[in-house]
C-alpha cells in the first residue's frame, strides 16, 4: 500500500459504512464569524482564516435547470459541464492543464434553482487562480469540440442514471409531483433534448444566467476583505448587471394517493414517496425541521430507522424530510426493502406518520432532538469547504447573515404543540409513491 492510496481509497469507496447519514440544514455560535463584504451592487460572505494556505470560493447564480427553456431540458447542466472546458485564448485541454499545473480545482454544477461553481486553490497562487476563474466566468469558449464531447458525456449520464433504482424512482416521483412544471424534469434532460442542444443555445443561456443581480458569493480561508474586494472587482464586476431569465412559477405537489410501479429484476424494491411540504418562510419551518428529525431525518436516532431497521430488519436505509426547492416545498422519503417486505415497510412508515401527528412527542424526545440538531450544527463548520457550503446554502435560502447566530435559538424555541401541528400536515393516505423492483405498493 502506498500512503497516497490511503487518501484516494476514501474516494474510491471500497469501504462499507454502517449507515448513510442524511444531512439536514445549516448553524449558531457553532459558526465562525461571518462578514459581509460589499462592492457596488455585489455582496459576498467571508470567513477569513489564515491557519491553512487554502482558499475556497463558492459562487451561485439563481436560475438552475428549472430555468431551462421549453424543449431544451438539460441546457443548464450542459452549460455547467462546459464552464471549465476552455476560456479566453485557452481551448479545453490548455485550460485544464493550466488548472492542473497550478493545483487549482474548479468545477460547476447545475441545481434545480441555481448554477453553482466551486474553486479551491492555494493562497500563494491566488493571482493565477483568480485569473483563470475570471476567464472561465467572463470568456468561456463553448468550442464545438467541447460541446459535442459534453453532450456525449451528459447522454451517458442519463443512461447511467436509469440503472439506479433510487434515481429512476425519484425521476418518476417528481413527474408525479410537478407534472409539466420544470421541477418535474430531470436536470440532465432527455437523450432527445440533449442531442438537439447547440453551441448557440449554450451561449444564449450563459448570457441570460451569469449576471450580478442573481450572483451569490461565499469565500473561506486565507483571504481578507481587501483581497475579496479585488476578487469581486476583477472577476465578477464585468458581468452584466441583470440576468434575463424568466422567473420560475411557484408550484404545489400534486395530491395523491397515486402509486406508480416500474418492474425491475432483483431481490429488492426501491420505494420513494412524497407529498406537499412547507417552505422555509412558513411559520412552522423550524417545528417542521424538528418534527422531521424525530420522524425520519436523524439517521440512527429517527423513529423510522428504529421501527423499520432496528426493530424489524426490513431495510438498510430509510429516511424522510423536506426537500429544498425555491418555488416549491416537497416532503419526501425513501426506503428499499425485500420484495416480500416492501409493503410492510411502507405500512410502518405511514403508521409512524400517523403516530407523530396523533400523539404529542414527549418533552424528553423533543429535548433530545434539539440537542442533536443544535450540537450538530458545529460539525458543518469544521472545514473550509463545509463552511463555504453553509454560507452559500444560507444565501440561497434567502436567509440573513444573522441566521448563523439565530438558527439554534429558533430550534430551541420549538414547542411540542408546534411539532404536532407540523406533523398534522402529513397526509399518509394521500401520498405519491413510486416503486422500482418486484413489488407495487397499495395505499389503502
Amino acid at each position: 500500500m502506498s500512503p497516497h492510496r490511503a487518501i484516494k481509497a476514501m474516494l474510491v469507496g471500497l469501504v462499507l459504512a454502517a449507515s448513510t447519514l442524511v444531512s439536514a440544514t445549516v448553524s449558531v455560535q457553532a459558526a465562525p464569524p461571518v462578514q459581509s463584504v460589499a462592492l457596488r451592487d455585489m455582496e459576498a460572505w467571508l470567513v477569513s482564516d489564515k491557519s491553512l494556505p487554502i482558499i475556497t470560493v463558492k459562487m451561485a447564480w439563481r436560475g438552475g435547470s428549472a430555468s431551462d427553456p421549453a424543449g431544451k431540458s438539460g441546457l443548464t447542466m450542459l452549460l455547467a459541464r462546459l464552464m471549465n472546458e476552455g476560456a479566453g485564448e485557452l481551448p479545453a485541454q490548455a485550460f485544464q492543464q493550466a488548472l492542473a499545473d497550478n493545483a487549482i480545482s474548479l468545477s460547476f454544477n447545475a441545481g434545480r434553482d441555481e448554477l453553482t461553481g466551486t474553486l479551491r486553490c492555494l493562497s500563494r497562487y491566488r493571482d493565477v487562480c483568480f485569473k483563470l476563474l475570471r476567464l472561465a466566468i467572463t470568456a468561456p469558449r463553448f468550442d464545438d469540440e467541447a460541446v459535442a464531447r459534453m453532450q456525449r458525456e451528459q447522454s451517458a449520464a442519463i443512461l447511467r442514471s436509469q440503472q439506479s433504482p433510487r434515481v429512476l424512482a425519484n425521476q418518476e416521483l417528481v413527474k408525479l409531483a410537478f407534472g409539466e412544471h420544470p421541477y418535474g424534469r430531470p436536470r440532465n434532460g432527455t437523450m432527445e433534448s440533449v442531442a438537439a442542444l447547440t453551441a448557440a443555445d449554450i451561449r444564449a443561456h450563459y448570457e441570460n444566467i451569469l449576471a450580478r443581480d442573481n450572483l451569490l458569493l461565499a469565500v473561506v480561508g486565507d483571504m481578507n476583505r481587501a483581497q475579496l474586494r479585488r476578487l469581486m472587482r476583477d472577476v465578477f464586476a464585468g458581468l452584466p448587471a441583470a440576468n434575463k431569465l424568466p422567473p420560475v412559477v411557484p408550484v404545489t405537489v400534486a395530491p395523491g394517493p397515486t402509486s406508480r410501479h416500474i418492474e425491475r429484476a432483483g431481490p429488492q424494491t426501491s420505494v420513494v414517496f412524497a407529498q406537499q411540504g412547507i417552505d422555509h418562510n412558513h411559520p412552522l419551518f423550524f417545528a417542521d425541521f424538528v418534527m422531521n428529525s424525530i420522524l425520519g431525518g436523524s439517521g440512527f436516532s429517527s423513529r423510522l430507522t428504529e421501527q423499520v431497521r432496528e426493530q424489524r430488519g426490513l431495510a438498510y436505509s430509510v429516511y424522510s424530510g423536506t426537500s429544498n426547492y425555491q418555488r416549491a416545498a416537497m416532503w419526501n422519503g425513501a426506503v428499499a426493502s425485500d420484495n416480500a417486505t416492501a409493503q410492510q415497510a411502507v405500512d410502518i412508515i405511514r403508521a409512524e406518520m400517523r403516530r407523530i401527528a396523533e400523539t404529542p412527542v414527549s418533552e424528553e424526545r423533543l429535548a433530545t432532538a434539539k440537542t442533536y440538531l443544535t450540537g450538530n450544527y458545529a460539525l458543518r463548520f469544521d472545514s473550509g469547504t463545509k463552511i463555504a457550503s453553509q454560507l452559500i446554502g444560507t444565501q440561497l435560502n434567502g436567509w440573513p447573515i444573522s441566521y448563523f447566530k439565530t438558527r439554534n435559538a429558533n430550534i430551541e424555541a420549538v414547542r411540542i404543540a408546534e411539532v404536532q401541528a407540523a406533523a398534522k400536515l402529513l397526509t399518509p393516505n394521500r401520498l405519491l409513491v413510486v416503486t422500482v423492483g418486484g413489488t407495487a405498493i397499495r395505499l389503502d
Partner: protein
C-alpha cells in the same frame, strides 16, 4: 495515434515552483503536526491537532477486516461491525448512536478488507464520554441471538441495495473473484449472500474474542485537542482494557501474479444495464518498503494515464478517437496484500468492447515504450501532492488518512515522506512501473453489457 499537446504559451499561466506545495504537506514547520503515543496495553495513539473549530473526530481502528474472516464465514467482519451498535453491559441496543446524537454528535463505522473503524464527530468536551463508550464496547458487548437475526436481515437488505440491485457491482465481484482467486481478496467485503444468511451469534462471538482488544487497535483523534489531553483521557478509558496478545495472522498473498484465463473477459449481460461499461483490473504485487520507488511511480503512472481530463486516456479515447465518452485510471494500493491498478472506460455509442480495449492497449504500449514527458511528470506530481495539501482542510480526512495508513503498517512519518517519494519519481521510473505492473496476464477485463447486446453499441 498522436496526441496534440498544446504548449503553454499564455503568460498568465504561472507554473508552481517546485517545493512550494511540498512544504504544506510534508515533514517540516509548514506541514501538519501529527503526534503519536502508546499505552501499556498496546493501544497506539495518533493525534492530529486542528483548532479551527471546537470539535473532534474520534476514531478507533481495529486491525481486522473481511480478509481475516474464517472460510465460509464471509461477511462476518462487516456484520460484526453492525453488532457493535447493538448493546453492551451498560448501553442498550441502539442507544450508542442515540447517545452520541443526544450529545450533538454523529457516529458511524466502516469495514474494508484490512480494517474496521468506528468514529464519532462531536464537540471537544464530549471526547471523554466517547472514549468511555468506545472502550465499553471493545470488551463488554452483549451478543443476543434475536438481535443478531434482525441485524442479519438489515445486512441482506444492504447487500441487495449495494450489490444485487446493481449490475456494475455484481460485475466487480465476479472480476475480483477471478483476479484474486486463492487469496482472501477474492471475497467481497460485504460477503456472499448465501454465507451472510448463515452467520449467527456464535460466529460473531468468536470473531469478537479473537480481534477486539487494545493491542489490535489504533486510536486516532483529530481536532481541537493536544496529545497530552488525548493521552490523559485514553489512559482513563482505554488504559484498563486487557490486551489479547494475539496479533492477526499473516494471510495468503499472491506472489505469482498471473491470472487463470486472463484472456477471457468477464462478461455480465443484464437487462437492467442502459449504459455499457468496460474495465480492467491488474493485480499488483504486495507493497514492500524496498519497492516503494515502484509504488510511488505507480501512483504517478495512474495520474499520467487516467488523471482527469488532462490524462492520456481521456485525451486519446474521449477527445481524439472518440471511442469512449469517459475514462480514467487509478492505483488502489491501500491494501495489506495484493493491490490493484484499475482502468475504466464508458464506450461511445456504436463502439464495441474490442475496439475500446484496443485503444486502451495502444496507450499502455505507448507508456511502456517511451518515457512520459517532463511536463506530464510535473503535472502528475503536482496533482498527487496537492490532494494531500487539500486534505488538510478536513479533520475527518486527516483522521482517515493517518488511521488507514496505520492499519497498513505505515507511520505518520511514512505518509508525510510519501511526498518526497513522489517528487523523486523520474520519467524512466514511470515507464519501468508500466512495464512491471501493467502485464496483460496479471489482469481481468470486464464488460458490462445490455442483455442480448453484448458487444455492439446501445442507445
Amino acid at each position: 495515434m498522436t496526441l496534440m499537446r498544446l504548449k503553454k504559451s499564455n503568460p498568465i499561466i504561472a507554473v508552481l515552483a517546485a517545493g512550494s506545495l511540498l512544504a504544506a504537506c510534508s515533514r517540516g514547520p509548514e506541514g501538519p503536526k501529527v503526534e503519536t503515543a502508546r499505552l501499556d496495553n498496546g493501544l497506539e495513539i495518533i493525534v492530529i491537532p486542528d483548532f479551527r473549530a471546537d470539535v473532534v473526530t474520534h476514531m478507533l481502528w481495529y486491525r481486522v477486516g473481511s480478509a481475516d474472516e474464517p472460510k465460509g464465514k464471509s461477511g462476518i467482519a462487516h456484520f460484526f461491525e453492525h453488532l457493535m451498535f447493538r448493546g453492551t453491559e451498560n448501553i442498550p441496543s441502539g442507544d450508542f448512536s442515540k447517545t452520541v446524537a443526544r450529545l450533538g454528535g454523529q457516529d458511524n463505522a466502516f469495514t474494508s478488507y484490512d480494517y474496521t473503524a468506528y468514529f464519532q464527530r462531536i464537540a471537544k468536551d464530549k471526547l471523554g464520554k466517547m472514549m468511555e463508550m468506545e472502550a465499553e464496547r471493545m470488551q463488554k458487548l452483549i451478543i443476543q441471538p434475536d438481535i443478531v437475526a434482525v441485524e442479519r436481515d438489515v445486512i441482506l437488505e444492504e447487500r441487495s441495495m449495494r450489490v444485487d440491485g446493481r449490475p456494475a457491482a455484481l460485475l466487480n465481484e465476479q472480476i475480483r473473484k477471478r483476479l484474486h482467486a486463492g487469496t482472501p481478496y477474492e471475497v467481497p467485503v460485504i460477503g456472499w449472500r448465501k454465507e451472510i444468511a448463515q452467520l449467527n451469534a456464535a460466529d460473531a462471538g468468536a470473531f469478537y474474542q479473537r480481534y477486539y482488544a487494545p493491542d489490535n487497535a489504533v486510536l486516532v483523534v483529530a481536532g481541537a485537542v493536544t496529545l497530552d489531553e488525548v493521552k490523559g483521557l485514553a489512559e482513563t478509558h482505554y488504559g484498563p482494557l486487557k490486551p489479547s496478545g494475539q496479533p492477526r495472522a499473516p494471510r495468503q498473498v499472491a506472489v505469482q501474479l498471473s491470472v487463470t484465463d486472463y484472456d477471457k473477459p468477464e462478461v455480465l449481460s443484464d437487462a437492467r444495464v442502459r449504459q455499457r461499461s468496460w474495465l480492467r483490473l491488474y493485480r499488483l504485487p504486495q507493497y514492500q518498503r524496498d519497492a516503494k520507488r515502484q509504488f510511488a511511480a505507480a501512483d504517478v503512472l495512474a495520474e499520467v494515464l487516467g488523471g482527469g481530463l488532462t490524462g492520456r486516456l481521456y485525451q486519446a479515447l474521449v477527445v481524439e478517437s472518440q471511442v469512449a465518452v469517459g475514462t480514467g485510471a487509478y492505483s488502489d494500493t491501500s491494501r495489506l496484500d495484493n493491490g490493484e491498478f484499475i482502468i475504466y472506460a464508458t464506450p461511445a455509442e456504436g463502439t464495441d468492447f474490442a475496439k475500446l480495449a484496443s485503444a486502451v492497449n495502444t496507450e499502455i504500449e505507448r507508456v511502456k515504450n517511451a518515457p512520459v514527458t517532463e511536463e506530464e511528470l510535473r503535472r502528475a506530481k503536482r496533482q498527487l501532492v496537492s490532494d494531500l495539501v487539500f486534505a488538510r482542510d478536513s479533520q475527518q480526512s486527516m483522521a482517515n488518512i493517518f488511521g488507514r495508513a496505520a492499519m497498513l503498517g505505515l507511520s505518520p512519518d511514512d505518509v508525510l515522506g510519501w511526498v518526497d517519494e513522489i517528487e523523486a519519481v523520474t520519467q524512466d521510473d514511470v515507464r519501468d512501473a508500466a512495464r512491471a505492473l501493467l502485464v496483460e496476464a496479471h489482469a481481468i477485463t470486464g464488460h458490462l453489457a445490455s442483455e442480448g447486446n453484448t458487444s455492439e453499441g446501445n442507445k
